[in-house]
Symmetry: C2
Subunit: 205 residues, 2 copies
Amino acid sequence: MPAIETMNTAAKRGRPGYDQDSVLTIAVELFNQHGYEATSMGKLADRLGISKSAIYHHVPSKEDLLRLALDEALIPLEAVVQDEHTHQRSADERLELFLRETFRILIAKRPCVTLLLRLRGNTELERTALARRRELDRKLAELVTLAQSEGSLRVDLEPRATARLLFGMINSVVDWYREDGPLNASALEQDAISMVFEGLHAHKK
Amino acid sequence: MPAIETMNTAAKRGRPGYDQDSVLTIAVELFNQHGYEATSMGKLADRLGISKSAIYHHVPSKEDLLRLALDEALIPLEAVVQDEHTHQRSADERLELFLRETFRILIAKRPCVTLLLRLRGNTELERTALARRRELDRKLAELVTLAQSEGSLRVDLEPRATARLLFGMINSVVDWYREDGPLNASALEQDAISMVFEGLHAHKK
DNA sequence: GTCTATAATGCGATAGAC
DNA sequence: GTCTATCGCATTATAGAC
């Protein structure tokens, strides 16, 4: 029979009694509030209600907390490229799916995506994450170009600028969307998608 | 005759020989690179090539640098509200002018606007600046509502969400526009404005 | 307008006890 | 899984010389 003490490993409730995931969740919250660089392990310890050194039992360094959080945003965002490529036919449909799925990940992983969007590239880790982000920009611009050549999108807009503006609008949601707020996520998604494809102007009959 | 030494006060070139404005310009650059909280007076001193204490000759505190920078962004942005209200007739035209003028200030005062957009509200000064920003959001949402009631804008979009998405798209420009880059500012302005009003879809004949 | 020197505090991380 | 104590260095800001 295994020793009864091994059950403690799985026990996540208690009082403090943190594991890596629960530490990470609070850490990301603080990183978003003060910026990664300005968030000290001391502030994080205070917020967790434990000592600084106790944090190092769960995670080897401050930078590892950042790495874990960025992967939690980037891995699903990168999976969108695979998804839309597999299922859809026209570039127009693929573009819409790309934007919708990005929006949904942004809502589902809002704290981690927020952290990603605020990186400045001051360390090698940050620069690597920013390079992965730029690759997503490139894929979106590629889809815009493709949809233009298929005739479903206006051709007078520069594809790379258009991709940046599209991501700019979608990504801005992390700055003001709140789960407990008055706005419904799927209605917001519909408004954003409809606005970029059809425009604000009322159609003339 | 005034003493010849008084000329030094006006002389801005020399080697170091900084004045408040030149210190502020470099400070804002560093605030944007590392975040305000994470930018130390020591790093700023290193970047300026002078000692920490020399900075305090030009500015009374780190927070005053932030205050000066935020005013440089907020005062012209707030003036837009006056401008568009005075000159234009229809809410539709006023809305377009509001967005175009905001875009232009964003390009002209990019470093200071960038700093403003990244605030998290961790001090009283930051919270005051964020309240001034929210007032601009409110004015834009008001214009959207007005344009809807005049019949020039579709009425199926929620005005406050629409205002946030519009600002989100326009504001995102600070993250990727570069004065020395391949994109022309007025062409970019035209693309953004045309995209939000007419949409991405090619018009059916 | 700049310097050196200094004060008091906070930083990321580690050692080792319980 | 948490603690106290500690290391070596960075932090904002001030005092006072030149």
